[in-house]
Symmetry: C2
Subunit: 205 residues, 2 copies
DNA sequence: TTTTGGTTACACAGACCTGTGTACTTAGGC
DNA sequence: GCCTAAGTACACAGGTCTGTGTAACCAAAA
């Protein structure tokens, strides 16, 4: 249908389409026929690239597992920016929750492979927060990192059922309180809207 | 199989079994045959009580929608006790996340009926927090209530993928910080473990 | 006794699913 | 020209699912 405009490999085309359909409509809701038809290839070709649907599901989740890009901005800013980017993603109409949580919810507790990668993803997110907090010299970075991922996952779950991007904003406000309570300087509150004239610095602790 | 020991109505038996199977294994994963077989009734009987699987799903979710019992304990204690009860539920091996979030994740965004009841449930939880906070005289009870449900849902999502009841504890600690920041007296920290000898009261605000 | 309502057993339609088998085509490299 | 690799078309096996149709059964009420 569009072979000249797609310099990507066939495997990537399959994964891209599977990602879109699995994520937006659910893994169980989409059959391999549907994916093949969407690309315009035969089901046989799909099975030549992936031995089974389970393998395709695993590849789909692994492809979703991307590490956040390293940034040179101050750690506190990076942490709070997480919630801004979350809010932007919530506002997009093709957002449908966390693919890892959804996959675990959908495929049940018996699917070891899916659960394993979901745990790895969640842990990597928590580790990212912990590293930023350590850079800030926060005492119990580990506990606080856990609390921050709770806010992230909580806002995702809430947005999934309520379609309300303001959940990300609420999470950011809560995160700001938690950070400030841990002695982190978050400027005027970190919510961007209020940072106007006086940006009084506040001594940690 | 056990007709004399079940004084409950047939409809309730069906719902009870559907609840167990839907919740533990997933709605899409369980067919009506499986439910009927589990009870020991014919599929025909099941369809005599529920016109379709969709109706059964809706009834399942509605049955899960229970209001928290009114309590005469202090509001702050009630709020924090939420996280204790959450931790207890996480520890139980038959806990598998929030049935409403799971249903939305599983059935997709197009299922209006499911989404509607899920939203109603989430809103009722948020309203419960808001009422307790209003009783405490918290200024922006609404915003804080939202933040608390984020912690609840976040810990549920995290426990779903990680099977770690400590997530409820982390949520409780974060909630304690948020409450104290709003001027609520939460005693020594509200985590139960530390409340030993000196329980110095702290003036609100 | 007769009727009636709930239940059972069981077949079946129609749809969808995963995965395979097979023969055909097409394009590029030798 | 020939060979190989990749893709296509298409049928099909074997399974699951929802929902219905039908005839028989059984117990309690009338």
């Amino acid at each position: 249908m569009a072979p000249p405009t797609t310099p990507q490999t066939m495997k990537e085309r399959i994964l891209e389409t599977a990602d879109k359909l699995f994520y937006l409509q659910g893994i169980r809701a989409i059959g391999v026929d549907t994916i093949a038809a969407e690309i315009g290839i035969s089901k046989r070709t799909l099975y030549n690239h992936f031995p089974s649907k389970d393998a395709l599901i695993a590849a789909y989740l692994e492809r979703r597992f991307v590490q956040p890009r390293p940034s040179d901005k101050p750690p506190a800013e990076q942490i709070l920016a997480t919630f801004d980017s979350l809010e932007r993603r919530f506002a997009a109409k093709d957002f449908r929750g966390c693919p890892f949580v959804n996959a675990v919810a959908e495929l049940g507790p018996h699917d070891r492979a899916v659960k394993k990668i979901a745990v790895a993803f969640k842990e990597s997110r928590r580790a990212w927060f912990r590293e930023r907090l350590s850079e800030l010299g926060v005492a119990n970075a580990d506990a606080l990192a856990t609390q921050l991922v709770l806010l992230v996952d909580g806002s995702i779950a809430q947005d999934l059922v309520r379609d309300d991007p303001a959940m990300a904003r609420a999470a950011k406000e809560a995160a700001t309180v938690l950070l400030r309570n841990a002695g982190v300087d978050v400027g005027d509150g970190g919510d961007g809207t209020v940072k106007q004239v006086k940006r009084h610095k506040r001594a940690p602790q």
